[in-house]
Amino acid sequence: MTMTGLDLLAAGDSNAIKDLINTLCQPHWFFIIASVAMIVFLVGYRTLTKPAVALAGGLAFTAFYVLSGFDSDFLSIIQKPDNVPITMMIYLVGFFVWLAFRQAAVNDQNMEEGKPLLEAGSDDKVLVWPDLVYTELIALVLCTVALTVWSVILRAPLEQPANPAVIPNPSKAPWYFLGLQEMLVYFDPWIAGVLLPGLIIVGLIAIPYIDRNPRGNGYYTLKERKFAITTFLFGFLLLWVVLIVFGTFLRGPNWNFFGPYEFWDPHRPAALLNINLADIFWVQWLGRGIPTESFGMLPHFVVREAPGIVLLSFYFFILPGILRYTVFRKMGNQLGFVRYMVMIQLFLWMAFVPIKMALRWTLNFKYFVAITENFLNF
């Protein structure tokens, strides 16, 4: 027998609702729901960003958040001084996304009707003195007051001196690094800690050189820049903000996933037996042992990891060419060879993160290529 959330609400069975939400907060479901929500928002942005609709959404979320606070486990999470900024972050991200897409919705509507854009004729120049300096002064005073009050009300979460015998469990990074810490679960340190952050920074720097499309410069729009905005939002909302939410609400002792209303039991059993592509290919599909012999010039680890090497070579070297003449044909023509290759490599690296996360969540999949002998693990 299945029950919908509304049935459960009607029955007043709060435990069943919590169980349902806990289930939906398993990482793969959470990520799928968040992705679908983003797509729905991008498709229906003209309706969903109407002030009344957006306000209703914000109030509904607030009601959900406050009601969740009656659960002691959830309350203990949001009450932690470390996690106060997370609540602010959720509301601020929501507000600014709404603000941008509201203006995009109005502009897109105006463009279709041939009316002037919101930004038309606006002179957003401000005199440094007195306007800007006064604004900055007020902001400075307000920030100082807020930080002072905050630090007086909530004690800094300082702990005793480091002791290898007493380890905080879970050991969490500062909130703004939780996304990075989450990525470290799926990739080796040099990839998640060096390569991927480097690619994020280099990629953001490269955007103005890759994307020379003048549309959307100086005004909000979604209709004219669907791919660019969707890609950026995917990287920002799903691969950064959602990972921070994972790290805050869903990661418990031993860095296991817990539902938001689930007690953080450090002894809860969790079997996460890793499996590599080599295991799947040689053992499960071919039904033989993992090769340990070298083949001609190829050392044994290359033979062993051949499936992963072929797959990743296809992904990073062949797939860009295929996409160039199918999905990204028009964009490839506009960008030219070099810009297209830079763009597609950044794009594929970005897509590599959720692909590997999903494989880990569903199959406990660890490495495509595992040459642990030489620290080459992908």
């Binding site: 290898p164 810490q181 340190p189 031993n254 450090p266 002894h267 059993p269």
Partner: protein, 359 residues
């Protein structure tokens, strides 16, 4: 309409004797004050002076000391003085100026860029006004700035600008308007400095050299000091060899047993079948310290969830390789663990007899 020279810019050189002749000839352009004569602000705009070409030329001719100078452009003389808006094609300053300066033998070639520039930027002459600012002086200055710098700046990328600059280069400084003269003198000074060593340049480069030398010296000295700092005379670190207790005590561990008491020394004592090993507590992923979970019989890292079997083999989470084992041996019945010597599974070092004790 006939083609004739139109005045685009008029100025007064030093030496005015305040004779009133110019104001008489062209009262809209010249204003004679008590001790000097000035151009009225309105007349800084070429659209204002063009229709007044005749009177300006007359004023210049009548000036007894010949201090009134003007720049001209070839243009179509309106039959009657027309509002400025009727002549948008001649609004870009440099290109018409180039046309005026070009040798008469090549009028067609010279006027070509002018037409081009005009065609490309028919609407580029900015209309500047400060709304609601009634001060006519400010309005006039703004218009003048637009006519001189604004439009010229915008048109600078057009073809005509190059020709204009060349034409101005050929003229001697005395024949140029004051602002162009200043620019010419400055560039001449720059060029002179480039050719030879000036005193100022010599001083500047000496100062530069001294600065770089000082920086190199400071860097070298601090580098040496840093190197010295990295090699202290006395290094206070615990002895990597620890005596942890009699062998008989650890031999009591059941197979698969983990002794947590030595964790503060940086390792666990573990009995794996008939071997006694010392397992490093540092996680091979990013250096956190896992905890021993007796119920699950595994080591679990609280930072990223790496899991290790009691042997040290990694089996879950992101750790790329097993935990390391330390060198272990027995001296006089006491177990001694040497933390300076590590044995790694992926390098096949766990078979090394130094890496375990047989009990």
């Amino acid at each position: 309409m006939a083609t004739k020279e139109l005045v685009t810019k008029v100025w007064i050189e030093d030496g005015c004797i305040v004779c009133d002749a110019c104001e008489t000839a062209s009262p809209d352009v010249f204003e004679v004050l008590d001790d000097s004569c000035v151009i009225r602000p309105d007349a800084l705009n070429m659209e204002f002076t063009k229709p007044l070409t005749d009177s300006i030329i007359e004023a210049a001719e009548e000036c007894p000391v010949d201090v009134i100078k003007f720049d001209t452009v070839a243009g179509e003389a309106p039959d009657a003085p027309a509002p400025a808006a009727d002549a948008p094609a001649e609004k870009a300053v440099p290109a018409p100026a180039a046309a005026a300066k070009a040798p008469a033998s090549k009028p067609a070639a010279a006027s070509e860029p002018a037409k081009k520039s005009a065609a490309k930027s028919p609407a580029k002459q900015p209309v500047v006004s400060v709304a609601g600012d009634p001060d006519p002086a400010i309005q006039a200055l703004l218009r003048a700035a637009t006519a001189r710098g604004g439009a010229a700046g915008i048109a600078a990328s057009e073809d005509g600008a190059g020709l204009a600059a060349k034409a101005w280069d050929r003229k001697s400084a005395a024949d140029l308007p004051p602002d162009a003269r200043q620019a010419k003198v400055m560039s001449a000074a720059k060029a002179a400095a480039k050719d030879g060593v000036t005193r100022r340049g010599m001083l500047a480069s000496s100062a530069c050299g001294v600065g770089w030398l000082a920086m190199a010296g400071t860097t070298a000295v601090s580098g040496i000091a840093f190197g010295r700092f990295m090699m202290p005379n006395v290094l206070e670190e615990p002895d990597p060899k620890v005596r942890i207790g009699p062998l008989s005590y650890f031999a009591q561990l059941p197979p698969g047993g983990v002794n947590n008491e030595t964790k503060l020394q940086g390792f666990w004592m573990i009995r794996v079948e008939d071997k006694l090993i010392a397992l490093n507590i540092i996680c091979t992923h990013l250096g956190c310290i896992p905890s021993w979970l007796p119920n699950d019989r595994k080591f679990k890292c609280p930072c990223h969830g790496s899991g290790f079997r009691q042997t040290g083999i990694n089996f879950e989470g992101p750790a790329p390789r097993p935990l390391e084992r330390f060198k272990i041996n027995v001296i006089d019945g006491i177990v001694v663990v040497d933390r300076s010597k590590k044995f790694q599974y992926e390098k096949g070092q766990w078979d090394n007899p130094d890496s375990f004790l047989t009990v």
